[in-house]
Symmetry: C2
DNA sequence: TGGTCAACCAAACAAGTGCTTGGTAGGCTA
DNA sequence: TAGCCTACCAAGCACTTGTTTGGTTGACCA
């Protein structure tokens, strides 16, 4: 990320406060007066720093997405087998939830609403991009024999995406489980299942 | 359900329209004028049928939850092993998404916000109740040897709950996958994993 | 000392919000 | 025919919303 050195300006501080409120109550449900009160100023004063309430989420989300997808690209480009890539991508996601819970929560809760505005078209683009990453990883895994070939790639992608990202709704940094423990447990279940016996028909076959 | 025979009254019709809008745009983000316009009447006329906008969601959610939890109770009370119960509970959930997509979506998206009002205290209660159902099922499964005993019950419960219910965000009745196919695929992955080989350490052990 | 500037205040505005009020049209029934 | 009832309209009220405007404060600097 080679933008500015990002000094901890008042602007940045206000964005952090806004992000917390957006994540907690939702974008539409958070008023500029809420943000102002939490910042110890009046609502009108926010407009000295930002054009609009929309531009606040915009800055919050776009900054985060840039960072996140740079990390995904690094995983995709790494020279390891599909299984390891999947492992890393899952861990990366839980780590993102740990380090940027507000941003992830806003994206999870309000992407649908915000996506309706032209300004936030990049949200849908990033979503499609993320899907392609996962679908290609899973396809590679099946082709290499590391993953079962009776998998429906599209459904499997959705299951993984959903489970990973919705965790932001209950995960609390510094809580009972670290994001690493959660990733461990999920990867165990995802790769090998919760069962002791393989289920009756069509068990683990090799290509 | 032994309430009233529920004739297809205008009231019921309006509730259905409201449910669709709430599910699509969120409760807070749907105005009474939206609902009225979609119904072909003026906003004030809604108050001939309902006390408030809140009482509309209330009726939508409470009716659905009653029905859903009666079904869960039946699964819990059935005389089969834990694995079969888990199978049935998962299928039941995907079926609920298929038959009541609006209600599920509203619950998923707005339970957090609505839960803040006393009136909707039952939402949190039902949530706790649902957790107990799953935790007891999983615990029984581990104890009986059907499920791996290195599972973190709490995390496993959350993973299952999240994956199942968030599916309402992309599942479309009559779409490419039936709810039965989706349940099949998810149960396959959940029980046996996506991998062909059991992962390196601590594979499938018996108690 | 005077000028500049970021940060903020105080007050308001227009649009949108949930909801209320008084009234009306038309069907059903006693 | 009279009375009642369901379903609705028309208009508005009180409040909240995002945003604008003109002015004030205090730190920094030449």
């Amino acid at each position: 990320m080679s933008t500015e050195p990002t000094a901890p300006t008042r602007r940045t501080e206000l964005l952090g406060i806004a992000a917390g409120l957006f994540a907690e109550k939702g974008f539409k449900n958070t008023t500029v007066r809420d943000i102002a009160e939490a910042s110890g100023i009046l609502s009108g004063s926010l407009y000295h720093h930002f054009d609009s309430k929309e531009s606040m989420v915009d800055e919050i989300l776009s900054t985060f997405q840039e960072e996140l997808f740079a990390a995904y690209d690094a995983v995709l480009a790494s020279d390891v087998d599909a299984r390891t890539k999947i492992d890393r991508a899952v861990r990366l996601s839980f780590q993102a939830i740990d380090q940027h819970p507000h941003e992830v929560a806003i994206f999870q809760n309000d992407a649908g609403y915000l996506g309706g505005f032209e300004r936030f078209g990049y949200l849908a683009e990033r979503n499609a991009q993320s899907r392609e990453v996962w679908v290609s990883l899973l396809t590679e895994g099946v082709r290499s024999g590391a993953l079962r070939h009776d998998l429906d790639i599209e459904l499997t992608y959705r299951f993984i995406r959903d489970t990973v990202w919705v965790a932001v709704k209950w995960y609390r940094p510094g809580g009972r489980h670290s994001h690493v423990e959660i990733a461990d447990q999920y990867l165990t279940i995802l790769l090998d299942g919760i069962s002791t016996d393989p289920q009756s028909p069509s068990p683990r076959e090799r290509p």
